[in-house]
Structures are given as structure tokens and as C-alpha cells.
């Protein structure tokens, strides 16, 4: 394997730079649609890039009593894991037979790393409010990971029980996307709400509730480190709907993927704009009781072939 080609894939396309640029563009779409829903004019198209550039060139302050290494390295976890995830998703969709057994488990672990980055960063800054934000992020992660895993197991069942991601895509290309069945719809709803919680969008943005704990786990970050956190969130906004399309809607190796992708983004933004914020105990109850039971129903329906 050519080392230049590998580096190109991980850093330029579709890795770090490509998903960074498209992710920041999607955050602009989010802000513009939100502004239009509020009857305002939103920011111009280059706004997220100006934000990112400004943050890169500002002074980075490290608090005195924090654990400095962890404080500076925690933001990189999210960015690195999302770059690897981008390469894996693109290679799976355009080359479904070249995947390895068990790579869906690797993807689940990669999706777990950005919240861990937030938790570590919030705990490493010596600040009570950041600690509260980190513990809320931990609780929210426990809440949504359970139905998310059950939904993924539902899809594995529907694909005939194999844990190769390429098999999931091949089965969908052969016999229609999984979304066009009852258990598929249930799994789609569950995974969409888990995406909303993973991105920390309203109604699940309790870890960084601005009115209560003043930016939560990000409170001591400034400059390059904050830019990396924002970039990790932007990349998640790009990659998680692609993950949903690959699992449930037939993969994105054709041009029909673009309208599907935009539909999911619009759904995320609309849910964001029409709901108030839930408290942390309401988040736990919502995900474990409501959505958990729904995902188990989906699992049972998938077992019986519906």
C-alpha cells in the first residue's frame, strides 16, 4: 500500500480536510435555517470558516492547576476518530467487498470517542462548572448508547446476522433498503434521535447549557483547542447522517444520496428549532424507557422478519 495514498486518504480526501470543510458548511446551513425559522437574516456563507480561522489565530490559555497534557490532547480525540471514520465510511460504500469482519464494532467504538474527548477535556480543566458539564455528558452518553446499540443489532439481524458493514450494504443493494420495512422505520427513528443527542443539539444539549453552567465542559478552552472541538462537532454533523444512510437507506454510492442527506439534515435542524431543552433526568427517562422499549420492539420485529 502506497504510504502517500494512505496519507492522502486520511488527511485530504475523505479524511480530515474534506470532512472538515463540508462539516463547517453544514453548520452554516444549520445556522441559516435556524435564522430563517426565527424570521431573521442569518450569517453569510463564510461565517463558520471565519469563526474557525479566528479561533486558530487567538491566544490559547491553559489554566494553571489543570492537568496540562490531558487538557491539550483531549480535543484531538474527536478529530482523529472522525477522520478515521470518514475514510472507513467512504471505502465501505464505494467498495463493499473490501471490508473486514467486525468493522461495525470498530465504527461503534470510533463513534464513542468524541464524547470521551469532551468528558476528559471537561474533567481536565480545574473548574467546577466544567466538571458538572462532563458528568452530564457522561450521563447523556449512557442514556443514548443503549437504544443505539439495540438499533444497530436490529440492522445486523436484518442483514442476515453478519457483522461486516459491506454485507449490510450488499444486502440492501440486492433486496431494497432496510428503511422500507417496519423494523427499519423504528430503527431509523431511534438512530435519528441518538444522532441528535450525540451532536448535543437541542433538546439534548444539557451538557453545554449556556444559561446554567456557562458553556459546560468547554468553559476553559480557547484558541486552537476550542477550534478542534468545534471542528469535531462539524465533522460529526457530516458523518453521522452518512452513517444513517449507509445503515438504512442503501448506501451513498449513487447520486440519490444527496437529497436523502439533505432530508436528514433538515429533520435534525427542525427538531432542534421546535423543542425546549430536556433536563438530565428527563433525558435518561426518555432514552431508557421510551426509546429503549421502541428499539426492543424493533428488534423483535426484525427477528420475525418484518
Amino acid at each position: 500500500m502506497n504510504i502517500v495514498r494512505i496519507l492522502f486518504q486520511y488527511i485530504v480526501f475523505p479524511g480530515f480536510i474534506f470532512s472538515g470543510i463540508v462539516g463547517l458548511f453544514l453548520t452554516w446551513i444549520d445556522r441559516k435555517v435556524t435564522a430563517r425559522v426565527h424570521w431573521r437574516v442569518g450569517p453569510p456563507w463564510f461565517q463558520p470558516y471565519a469563526d474557525f480561522l479566528k479561533l486558530l489565530l487567538k491566544e490559547t490559555i491553559v489554566p494553571e492547576n489543570s492537568s496540562k497534557t490531558l487538557f491539550l490532547l483531549a480535543p484531538l480525540l474527536g478529530v482523529i476518530s472522525m477522520s478515521i471514520l470518514a475514510v472507513m465510511l467512504f471505502s465501505m460504500n464505494f467498495n463493499p467487498t473490501g471490508t473486514f469482519v467486525g468493522d461495525i464494532i470498530v465504527i461503534i467504538y470510533l463513534l464513542a470517542l468524541p464524547p470521551i474527548g469532551i468528558i476528559l477535556g471537561g474533567s481536565a480543566s480545574k473548574n467546577v462548572l466544567a466538571g458538572v458539564g462532563a458528568s452530564r455528558e457522561m450521563t447523556q452518553y449512557f442514556a443514548y448508547e443503549l437504544p443505539f446499540l439495540i438499533a444497530v443489532v436490529t440492522i445486523i439481524l436484518k442483514a442476515g446476522g453478519s457483522i461486516r458493514f459491506g454485507d449490510i450494504i450488499l444486502v440492501q443493494q440486492a433486496s431494497g433498503p432496510f428503511l422500507y420495512s417496519l423494523s427499519g422505520v423504528i430503527a431509523a427513528v431511534v438512530i435519528l434521535l441518538c444522532i441528535q443527542a450525540k451532536l448535543s443539539f437541542v433538546p439534548f444539549d444539557i451538557p453545554e447549557a449556556e444559561q446554567e453552567i456557562m458553556a459546560g465542559p468547554y468553559i476553559e478552552y480557547s484558541g486552537v483547542t476550542l477550534a478542534m472541538y468545534k471542528l469535531a462537532r462539524a465533522m460529526m454533523l457530516f458523518l453521522l447522517p452518512l452513517f444513517l444512510i449507509s445503515l438504512l437507506w442503501g448506501g451513498f454510492a449513487n447520486w440519490w444520496a444527496i437529497p436523502k442527506f439533505l432530508l436528514i439534515i433538515v429533520l435534525i435542524v427542525l427538531i432542534k428549532n421546535t423543542n425546549p431543552r430536556l433536563r438530565i433526568d428527563q433525558v435518561l427517562k426518555f432514552f431508557w424507557i421510551g426509546i429503549g422499549i421502541l428499539s426492543i420492539i424493533g428488534l423483535i420485529l426484525a427477528y420475525y422478519g418484518l
Binding site: 445556522r31 450569517p43 471565519a50 479561533l55 476553559e220
Partner: protein, 138 residues
Amino acid sequence: MGNAKLWGLKKSPWVFHVAAASCNNCDIEILDILTPRWDVERFGIVLVGSPRHADALLVTGVLNRKSLPRVIDVYEQTPKPCLVIGVGTCTCHTHMFEPSYNVVGPYNKYIPVDVYIPGCPPKPEAIILGVVKALKRL
């Protein structure tokens, strides 16, 4: 300052609101400019929750003996380069509050202020004009 840094600061100034013993009139007007009527997000101005994320500090109110160490702390925690914008006539000069036992003088004895916006309270258009003038000064 380099050109790219200047462009970034001008196009997306993030604002943190410091209320040092104000009567809250100016605070209400600052909240007003984020509403749809004088939508200020089109200039890239976002109200952030922590002084470490901020590029501009909007200070309001007459400086009090009790809030003075806090305001100085917030200013020192903000990453430079940062603008300090004093909103309201109370920040320009202590005028009628001068003989009080609790007033410790105008702001520029303790932190460097870039732009003063007079008015009691200043209209939202005046605040936007003041912020734009401060950005042009960069």
C-alpha cells in the same frame, strides 16, 4: 496584526457580557440586539457563555467597589486580542454617582476601554454602530 487574523476578528467577534453593578437597562438593550428585529448574528456576533471564548467584552454599569476585582479578573481571563466596549453613559463617566462611597472611578483607570457608547440606555442601533466602530479600529 496579520491580515488573516484581522479578517477573522472582524468577521466573527464573539461577545461576552459583563454586568458590573448596572441597573440592568443596558443589559436589556444588549439582549434586544439578538432578537429578530435588529438581528446581529448576520455580522457574526454571538453571545458566548464563557470569557475564554470571547473577543469583545460588553461592560455595563458603574464600577462598584465590590465588582471591581471581578471585572479585572474577567478581563485578564479573556484571550488577547480583545476589545472592551463600554455600553451606556455609566461607563463613560461616573457623573452623578461620583460622591458615593462605593464608586471607584471610571473604567479606564483599571482596564483599557476601546469604545464608549453613550445613552441611557443606548438604542440598539447605537450599540450596533458602536460595535462596528470598534471593529473598524482594529
